[in-house]
Symmetry: none
Subunit: 202 residues, 4 copies
DNA sequence: AATGAATGAGCTTTCATTCAT
DNA sequence: GATGAATGAAAGCTCATTCAT
């Protein structure tokens, strides 16, 4: 019994929560090699667990991949909400969100690469389909766009078009950044954010 | 003699050129299901040929996929060059290219979906890497951006950022269009093109 | 506790160690049908395992085939070393090795057939090439030949020629034996060994 | 008609007999790469004919391979019979045959490699089986062995054993020669032939 | 909860052979 | 006879998932 609890303690220090390790290994591999380059056995190895162990925490590969997506999305949302002041102007808030997103992805390139892989895959397609049916896109961005349109600050275009004008460039640029084709510094980030705003504003 | 020419005619109608059939089947499947959902056997079946026949025309799966990409790229380039007037202003030419691209993809949604799948896959990555090393990006867009920058009509940003500001939104919107989330009509296309211009211009 | 050990016993009898089973099935098939006649699926079936299981134990077909070769070679070496007396005359030791080899192969005809298949195949060629580069042929036979030559008991010919004069006949005869064209009994084995010695001696 | 015969003449000069070309290409490829490395399409290409053309001359791959074997065997027999003097002693005739065989193979290494490939393959096995059933081994060597035994010049061993004592070493040495492990010159050839005789003689 | 050997469906590719021309 | 595009069976190998321990 005593031995047990001692071992328990040791383990509490040494064992960094298998579920987290699995998720960490998965982002890394999928971000770097794509879904193809990340078979379950490899994820397990990188996570330091047995292949079967993954299935103790995730019902299937699909579940793991979707769960991973949701976790990252949550982290991003949290990051963006920090410092988001509802009282600021639409433009200020827009710039906050856009520069924030770029900064988050620059700081967490694996998260960015993962999101990309996810979106451009059957997983992403299925996800979008579900989201669409549920329609519960209570997104921080969408609210902003709606307000902007109703206040005649942003062009009167379908929300989805406004989203495309905003995120399309960001994704493209981030990709170029992760591939080393540009290096985004603060000045460039702000210029890009301003350009995106120009595309939206009335 | 007569029989011959009749047979010839019949063949002209009936013989569907297997190479073309294979390419057609491949775009369709890959566009709709992704690379995963398009194994060689399925492509062959959809093309109405035997599995081995594909290898009479393409050395390997990779070659088929890359060849397909090049063919589509060529078709797009040809389409955009039609009606492109070098004497027009930068803005006019920009709008021609952007609306042209949207119109092409709306008319050929499978081509769009294929390009997307390709770019977001190891194939696309390898392709980009090669292109980068060769650096021979004698692209119609890039020339226009360079001119625009040197004439102080377009903001002085890295070309790659200008490309992102242009194509990023287009890709996003096209994706939404193919998924039925918006319907792009001529009016909307022009508004979007104009917005993209606003993001670029000085 | 008791149950445990009983189960242990049963397992010792019943559990046939898949790796061994695979190797056994592989020798049998390859010896009897050649490499062509031994596809992985057939080996698996004969071993009573699933096709994929082979790859749990051997990284690839090539690895399986080479490993099998090494195992057999080891068994032969062990067999020949048993009863090999360094103090005996060159001739006595030569006869020990030659008759020993024949006896081993007669007792293990599958091993003989496998070795033959292996040597006369790309595997054998690659193997020989590697061995040659490494040159570490610390072979029991070669030592004996060297001694024999330096003591003027064996003709002064290149070692490789001495090897050919020794093993060439043995292989031919063994092949005829396995095909049922001769039956090797002890008397014949000794006569053959003596003949080989006549070919070598000064 | 005239045109036809002229063309015929031209062809007789230009066209080097497709059948021969196919056989030539086949030995070369099979000798150098083994049966695996010589698919029909590759043989056809090397022969400068279409894939289907091979089937105009040989009913199947197996037929081609067996025919090729017979042709080479015939050439060897012809070569050995040249200068074979029935009046000479057994020993003299034996040395003639053995050195002759070595010399033929040294001069035609592709033939040697082909024979080896053939013998160590299902083809060779089947061939031997058939030969055995037919028993029509009216071989020049076998006659000599029989004479030698009946004249008490050669040991009284089964003919097949005598054959093994003779050809076993030759094949081994030839292999080493083609692989560049020894270089056979006239002196060495004669020494080897003499050694083989020592193994046989009473 | 954790393990990892085992599974077997499914993948890409090869190649002897056929047959319309 | 000659062609070569087309065939399709069969090969080696991968990998998500299971399950006895």
């Amino acid at each position: 019994m005593i031995i047990h609890s001692i071992l328990g303690c040791i383990k509490d220090v040494a064992k960094p929560d298998k579920r987290k390790e699995i998720l960490r290994a998965a982002v890394e591999l999928i971000a770097e090699q794509g879904f193809h380059g990340a078979p379950m056995a490899m994820i397990a190895e990188k996570a330091g667990v047995a292949a079967g162990t993954i299935y103790c925490h995730f019902r299937s590969r699909d579940v793991l991949i979707n769960e991973l997506y949701l976790e990252i999305e949550e982290r991003i949302t949290a990051f963006l909400q920090d410092g988001y002041v509802v009282e600021n102007t639409i433009r200020e808030r827009f710039l906050h969100l856009v520069t924030g997103l770029l900064r988050y992805f620059i700081a967490h390139p694996l998260d960015f690469r993962y999101m990309e892989q996810f979106h451009n895959s059957p997983y992403g397609a299925a996800f979008r389909r579900d989201k669409c049916l549920g329609k519960s896109d209570n997104n921080i961005y969408m609210e902003l766009f709606e307000q902007g349109v109703s206040q005649r600050v942003i062009q009167d275009l379908p929300l989805i078009v406004l989203a495309a004008l905003t995120f399309g460039p960001l994704i493209s640029i981030m990709r170029d950044h992760t591939l080393g084709f540009v290096t985004l510094d603060d000045r460039l980030i702000e210029k890009i954010a301003a350009s995106c705003w120009e595309a939206l504003r009335q």
